[in-house]
Symmetry: C2
Subunit: 650 residues, 2 copies
C-alpha cells in the first residue's frame, strides 16, 4: 500500500511539475490518482475477505470451533488497520483556508452546500512559465473539522457511513427475514416480542441512565460534553444483539430449536427496534430544543414516533412483499426465471428505498418484506428462482457480514473520528452487560408467569450470554460522528463489538457445555427430561397440531387469518378463497383464485405450502420423501442434467 | 418526486427556522435530506427497472420482437428524465463564493483538494436570538463549474461516473467473458481479433480524422475548442460495439453460431480495445504537452502504452483466473459451496481492482479473468457453486445492463454537463456509420483472402449492421466532462447510443430477413447450401474433430498447450500432467496431479471437461443424456428434494 501510494504521489508530482499550461491534464491525473486510491481501498477489503474465506475453510477443515468467521474477520481487520495506520504515512490532501467573498449574501445558520473558488485568482502559484488560467471550481460540503491534524488520514481505507445503510445492511437484514424459521418463530412469538420490544427499550433506558450517572462522576470536561439524550442514544445503539457466532455454533451442535428461534428472532427484531428507537431519540432532541422545555410533549412525541415509524415501516415492507406475491401469482413471469428473480430483487430493494424516502426506517421495511417474500412469494416462484434468490442472498449476506466485521477492525485504526476515553469505555462495557441482564432475567421471570413450558434458568443464562453486539450497533455509531461525545460512543461501540464477537463468540461452545444445554442430534429423541420436549417437533411438517394449546393466542389468530385469507389470496395454496370466504364474497373470491389453485392436488399443495423447505437449515435437513439413490443409483446423473435444464431454462 | 422534494424542503426549512442554537441539529436534518434524495434517486431507477422487467415480460408473453429490453430501458429512462427535468424545479443547493485567506501559502497549479471554511465568521446569519458558534467545516473538490446556472440540477438523479467503472461495468464484462462460447470463439479467432484489434483502431482513426475535418468546416467557435486528439478520443470511445439487442434476436431465431461468435467475440474484445486505446490517447496528450513537440516519440509511446497496458491487464486477469483454479483444485473448499462461491467472486473482483491499482485496465483484466474462470475454475467447482456463480452473474449482468441503459435515457435530461451542438451531432452520426463500414468491409476482404470458408457478403452486411453502440461508449464519454468539447462528445455519444439501440435494435429481425441470413432450427440439418455447413457443430460435444484443418493455426497451437499443460495443471481433467509432460519433469507433474485426476474414469472427465454446459445457451439446450421423466414420472419430486439438499449442503 505504502509503495503504491508513494509511487502514485511521485507520478502525480511529475505530472504536475512537468506540465506547461495543462491544468486540465493535471486535474485528470488527480482524478486518476483518487480513483486508484478508491480501488486500493476496495482491494484491501477484497483481499481481507479472501483471506478470511481461506482461513475459514482451513478452520472448518480442521474443525476449529473457538473462532468464528466474523471474529476472524475482525482480527484480520485490526491487523491490517494497524499496518495502514502506522506504515503508510503519506499526506495526500492539499488544503487552504478560505473566507467568504466580501459581497456575499447568505443568511442561513447552516453552512452552505457548496463553495465556489476562483483559482488561482490572486494566489501565487508556481506553474513554471505559463500562467494558470482562472477558473471557477466547485467544492461540496464534507463535514465539520474537529481535529485539524487528522485531515491526512481521511482518505485511508474508510467509507462513507451512508454505504452501510444503503448497501451493506439491506441484504443482511433481508436475508435474516427471508430465513426466519417461521414455525418456531410464531410459537415463541410472545417471548421474542417481549425481549425485542420491551427488552430493548428497557436495556436502552437502563444503559442510558447508568451511563449518564457514570459520566457525571467523571472529570468535568467529559461530563459537560454528554447530555442525557446522548447517553440514551448510546443505550439505544448498544442494545441490539447480533449473535451470529453463537447461532452458527447452535447450528453446528444442533441445539434446541426453540432456544435457537428465540435468540435469532430476538436479534432480528431488536435491530429494527434499536434503529427506530435511536431515530425517535434524535427526533426528541430536535423537538425538545424547538419547544424549549415541554418535555412531556416531546417525550410523548418520541413514543408516538417510535410506534408510528415502526408500524408504518412494517406496513411498507409487508405491502411490497404482498405486491410481489400478487405479481408472481397472477402473471406468468415465472416462465422466465431471470425476469422473475430480477423482479423479486428489485421489489425487495424498492421496499427499503420507499421507506427511506418517506422518512421511515428502510431496515425495518426490508426485514418484514423478507418475511413476506419467504412466506408468500417464495411459494409462487419457479424452482429456478427459488434457488437463485436463496443462493444470491446467502452469498450477499456472507460477503456483507464479513465485510462489515472486517471494516470494524480496520476502521478502529484508520477512521479519523475516534475518541479514546478510558472511563467512558469501561463504563460502556459494564453497563452493556448490565443492560443485557436487565433485558433477559426480569422479563423471563414475567414471561414464565404466563408461559406453559417456562424458560428454564440455563436457557436464560444462554440468552444473556448471546448478547453479542454487531453490525447494527456499529452502523448506528458511525453514522453520526460530528461531536466529541458521538466519537467517544463510536470508539466504545467498536471495542464492545470486537470484544464480544471475538471473546464471547469464541467461548460459546464452552458456555453451552457449562450451562448443560443439551446438544447433538441424539437430543431429538432421547432427552425426555428436557422441558421443551412436548413442543419440539422434529420434522418440519406440522405434527405439532396437538400442541396448539400451547401456542400464543396471537399466533393462533394470525394462523387463522394467514391460512384462510392471505395464503389463498397471495399464493397458489389450497384451500382456495372460494372455500374460505363467506358466501357473499364468492364472486370476488373467484376472480382471485387461479386455475392452478382449483386443479392442483393435495400433493402439490403440501409441496408448495411448506415453510420449512425454504432456508438453509442445518438443524433439520429437508427430509427427502423418496431417496432417489435407493431407487436407482444412476440418478446421480439425472441430478446433473436436471440442474442443467433448470439453469438454461430462460 | 416533486412532491417529495418540496415536502422535504419545507421540513428542512422548518427545522432550520425553528431551531434555537442547534446548528448540529440543522446539520443532521440536512444530512437526512441528502440521504433521502439519494434514496429517491435509487428508487427512481429501481422503479424504472421494475417497469422494464414487467414490460419485457409482457413483450415476451405476446411475442413482440421489434423492441428489445435495452431499447425499452432507454425509452423509459428518457420519459422519466424529461419528467424530472421539467416537473421538478427545486433549487436545493446553497452556495457562496469564497476567496483564499490572505495568508495562504499554496503553490501548486491545481486547485486544492479541500477548502476549510470558518463559518459563520464575520458573515451575518439570521439565527434568531442565539449566536451561531464559529466552527471549521471541510469542503472537498467537486469539479470545474462551466455553466453557473446549472448548479441546481446537479443533485437530480445523477451518479458519480466512477460508479460505472467500479460497480456497473465489471459484472457485465465478467459475464461476457464467463459466457463466451469458447469453441466457436477460438474457431473464428482470426476474424474476431482482426475486427476487434485492427478494426477498432482503424475505426477510431477514421472517425477521429473525419470528425476533425468536419469540425474545421464548422463555425470558428466550435473549431477552436476541438484538437485533433479530442476528435481521436471521440473516435476511440464511439468505436466499440454493443450488439446486445442483435444477439438476443440471434439467440431467439437460432442464427448461425459462427456469425454469433464473430459478433459477440468482437463486441467483447473491442470494448477492451477501445478502453485501452482511449487511455493511450489521453497519455499521449499528457506526454505530448510535456515534451512540447516530439510527436514521434509521443506517438510511439502511445502505441507502446496500448500494447503494454493491454497485455499486462490480460496477464493480471488470466493469472487471477488461474490462481482461483489452483485454489479450487488443491483445496477442499468445494465441500463448502458458499465459501467456494465467495472465493470465486472475490478473486474475480480482485483481478479488476489489482489492474486498476497498477494503472492498468480493470475491464480487460476482468474479461480475461472471466474467460479463465469459465475455462478452468468452472470445472473444479462443486455443482452448487457452478449454478450459483452462473445465476449470480446472469442476474447482475441483467440488472447492470438495464440500469446503464435506463441511466443513459435519464441522464440525457438530468445530467448537467450536456452540450448540444447540432453540427457535431450530425457529423458524429455520419462518421460513426462510416467508421463501422471501414472496420468491416476492407478487413473482411483481407480476411477472405486467407480464410477457407470466406465470410459471405450477407454476413458482412450483418456484421456492419450489428454496430450498435452501448454501455462502454457511454461510460467513456461520461467519465470526463470538464471541457466543452468533452461535453459535446457526451451528448453526441448518448444520442448515438439511444438511436442505434432503439432503431437498429428494433430493425434487427427485418435486417436478418432482408439479408436472407438463414434462421431457425431447421437450418441445423437442411441448409446444405450454407457456406458454414461443414464447420457447424450442432451438439456441444466435439464432433467437429474432423474440421480441425479449418481452425486457425493460432487456435491449434493454443489448443495443444491448453489440453496438454494448462487443463491438466489447473483442473481435474485427464490426461494428467504425468502423461503429458516430458519424462524429466515427472516428479513435479506428480505433485501437481490430484488423486481425483488419477482415479476418475473417462465418464466423469467428459462431464466436467465440457465447455459447453457452462452458459445460458438458448441455441443449444444441453442434451440430457437421460430424461428422468421418461423413466419415472415421480422424479419431479426427486428434483425438488435434490435441490433442497443442494441448497442446504453448506
Amino acid at each position: 500500500m505504502n509503495i503504491f501510494l508513494n509511487f502514485a504521489s511521485i507520478l502525480l508530482y511529475l505530472a504536475v511539475q512537468c506540465q506547461g499550461s495543462g491544468t486540465d491534464i493535471a486535474l485528470d491525473a488527480k482524478a486518476t490518482l483518487l480513483h486508484r486510491i478508491d480501488s486500493l481501498n476496495l482491494l484491501i477489503y477484497t483481499c481481507l475477505l479472501t483471506l478470511t474465506v481461506l482461513t475459514i475453510w482451513v478452520f472448518k477443515h480442521r474443525r476449529v470451533s473457538w473462532l468464528h468467521e466474523t471474529g476472524l474477520a475482525v482480527i484480520y481487520g485490526l491487523i491490517v488497520g494497524a499496518i495502514i495506520r502506522y506504515a503508510a504515512s503519506t499526506n495526500q490532501v492539499t488544503y487552504i483556508n478560505v473566507h467568504p467573498a466580501p459581497d456575499t449574501k447568505y443568511n442561513l445558520s447552516v453552512p452552505p452546500d457548496m463553495l465556489r473558488l476562483h483559482f488561482p485568482d490572486k494566489m501565487q502559484v508556481s506553474s513554471g512559465d505559463a500562467p494558470v488560467p482562472n477558473k471557477t471550481y466547485a467544492y461540496s460540503f464534507r463535514g465539520e473539522i474537529v481535529n485539524v491534524e487528522q485531515n491526512e488520514i481521511d482518505l485511508k481505507a474508510t467509507f462513507d457511513p451512508e454505504i452501510f445503510f444503503n448497501i451493506i445492511l439491506p441484504p443482511i437484514i433481508f436475508h435474516a427475514g427471508y430465513c426466519l424459521k417461521r414455525k418456531y418463530f410464531f410459537r415463541n412469538l410472545g417471548a421474542i416480542l417481549t425481549f425485542a420490544m420491551v427488552g430493548t427499550a428497557l436495556s436502552a433506558l437502563v444503559i442510558g441512565s447508568l451511563m449518564y450517572g457514570c459520566v457525571q462522576l467523571m472529570p468535568a470536561s467529559l461530563a459537560s460534553s454528554f447530555t442525557f439524550l446522548d447517553t440514551l442514544y448510546f443505550g439505544a445503539l448498544i442494545s441490539p444483539t447480533d449473535p451470529l457466532t453463537v447461532l452458527a455454533i447452535f447450528s453446528q451442535l444442533k441445539v434446541d430449536v426453540n432456544l435457537y428461534a428465540m435468540i435469532f428472532g430476538e436479534s432480528v427484531l431488536n435491530d429494527a427496534v434499536a434503529l427506530v428507537l435511536s431515530g425517535a431519540i434524535q427526533n426528541y432532541e430536535l423537538r425538545y430544543s424547538n419547544d424549549g422545555g415541554f418535555e412531556i410533549t416531546a417525550f410523548l412525541g418520541a413514543i408516538g414516533d417510535f410506534i408510528g415509524i415502526f408500524s408504518l415501516s412494517l406496513l411498507v415492507g409487508a405491502l411490497m412483499g404482498c405486491l410481489t406475491a400478487l405479481m408472481t401469482k397472477f402473471t406468468h413471469v415465472r416462465e422466465w426465471p431471470l425476469l422473475e428473480s430480477a423482479l423479486f430483487v428489485l421489489m425487495s430493494y424498492a421496499a427499503f428505498l420507499i421507506a427511506e424516502v418517506c422518512e421511515l426506517t428502510g431496515v425495518v421495511a426490508v426485514l418484514f418484506c423478507g418475511i413476506c417474500q419467504a412466506h408468500y412469494t417464495y411459494n409462487n416462484l419457479s424452482s429456478d428462482s427459488r434457488n437463485r434468490t436463496k443462493q444470491l442472498f446467502e452469498l450477499l449476506n456472507f460477503l456483507a457480514e464479513n465485510f462489515i466485521f472486517t471494516y470494524i477492525g480496520v476502521s478502529m485504526f484508520t477512521f479519523p473520528k475516534h475518541h479514546f476515553d478510558p472511563w467512558f469505555i469501561i463504563a460502556g462495557f459494564v453497563t452493556s452487560v448490565l443492560g443485557r441482564a436487565v433485558n433477559i432475567y426480569p422479563l423471563s421471570f414475567l414471561l414464565n408467569l404466563g408461559r406453559k413450558p417456562p424458560i428454564p434458568m440455563n436457557f436464560q443464562h444462554m440468552l444473556f450470554f448471546s448478547g453479542l453486539r454487531g453490525a447494527m450497533s456499529f452502523a448506528l455509531a458511525i453514522r453520526n460522528t460530528v461531536s466529541e461525545a458521538r466519537q467517544a460512543m463510536l470508539t466504545t461501540t467498536s471495542l464492545i463489538v470486537i470484544a464480544t464477537v471475538v471473546l464471547q463468540g469464541g467461548a460459546a461452545t464452552h458456555a453451552l457445555a457449562y450451562l448443560r444445554i443439551p446438544t447433538g442430534e441424539s437430543g431429538n429423541d432421547e432427552n425426555d427430561a428436557l422441558p421443551y420436549r412436548d413442543v419440539r417437533s422434529d420434522t418440519p411438517r406440522d405434527r405439532g397440531e396437538g400442541s396448539t394449546g400451547q401456542k400464543a393466542r396471537l399466533a393462533r389468530l394470525w394462523g387463522a387469518v394467514d391460512s384462510k385469507l392471505l395464503k389463498p389470496l397471495l399464493t397458489h395454496a389450497r384451500p382456495p378463497l372460494t372455500e374460505t370466504l363467506p358466501a357473499f364474497m364468492r364472486p370476488l373470491a373467484r376472480v382471485l383464485t387461479t386455475t392452478h389453485q382449483y386443479t392442483q392436488g393435495d400433493n402439490s399443495l403440501r409441496r408448495t405450502d411448506s415453510d420449512s423447505d425454504l432456508c438453509i437449515d442445518e438443524q433439520h435437513p429437508i427430509p427427502t420423501s423418496i431417496d432417489p439413490q435407493q431407487i436407482w443409483p444412476g440418478l446421480v446423473d439425472t441430478r446433473i442434467s436436471v440442474e442443467g435444464i433448470t439453469g438454461s431454462n430462460i
